[in-house]
Subunit: 154 residues, 2 copies
């Protein structure tokens, strides 16, 4: 939509897509994030990853998820009330993120539903695909996000 | 199990439970995490959260998820090969995490399955419930984790 403003439930349609900016993942931030939150050998050094399924240093999936959130918050998706997740239909990391990877997010609206219990809000289901510079998916997530309605139904 | 060693697929049984240590979530780390990865008003200050569904400063769900990962990595769950998630059946945040909350994780094995395509590994399905000091769940996640088998089947 690209208007820089908040979008209400009524603004979303199934099939709409949104792009994002780009974030470069630096090796030192990968390993400092892992040291704090996910201190496993394959997230800390190439050497530690050598004989694991990752084969070389790979970002923690939670680092990838956090970077994806930042890209989403800064994107034109902009749900009124903020990006507030009510749960996920899916979350997985099909490929590792490597040092120097440049990530962006492609979002697609899969469903738009007014709430029955809360007439002033609704839920949008969004598939967010996080991709590296080669266009390969490194994270696929399908969150259900809370969104305000512009007007309460009569 | 509490033996401090790695556990192989054969060591896990449906219904087994694992505890964790405790982490205290400090307000300044909550807001610095949010400033980097989830810079929305309700994750940055009490003032910014005032007229939102959070009502007061709340941690980003991704910060809660990252802390949960740290507690899990340090717990006795210890799958051989590391805590490597192949995707989630569920991930949600039923209650906000507040400054000063002390979190711990309760894990329960829901399913144990040898892989058909990779005879040297399998998948365990684990429900991890992250709780605050009052025992209220702040995150519920059901990851499927890759685990090595001790011996290949004949």
């Amino acid at each position: 939509m690209g208007n820089g403003h908040e979008n209400y439930l009524e603004d979303y349609k199934v099939g709409q897509t949104f792009g994002s900016g780009t974030v470069r993942v630096e090796a030192d931030r990968m390993t400092s994030f892992a040291a704090e939150f996910d201190p496993q050998p394959f997230h800390l050094s190439d050497q530690g990853a050598k004989n694991t399924i990752f084969r070389a240093l790979a970002a923690s999936g939670w680092h990838t998820a956090a970077i994806t959130m930042r890209l989403l918050v800064d994107s034109d998706l902009k749900p009124a009330g903020g990006v507030v997740g009510m749960g996920f239909d899916e979350l997985r990391w099909p490929r590792p993120v490597r040092p120097g990877d440049e990530l962006h997010v492609h979002s697609e609206i899969l469903d738009v539903k007014p709430s029955k219990s809360h007439p002033d809000q609704g839920i949008i289901k969004v598939r967010t695909t996080t991709m590296n510079q080669a266009g390969d998916a490194v994270q696929i997530a399908v969150p259900n996000l809370l969104v305000r309605r512009r007007e309460k139904p009569a």
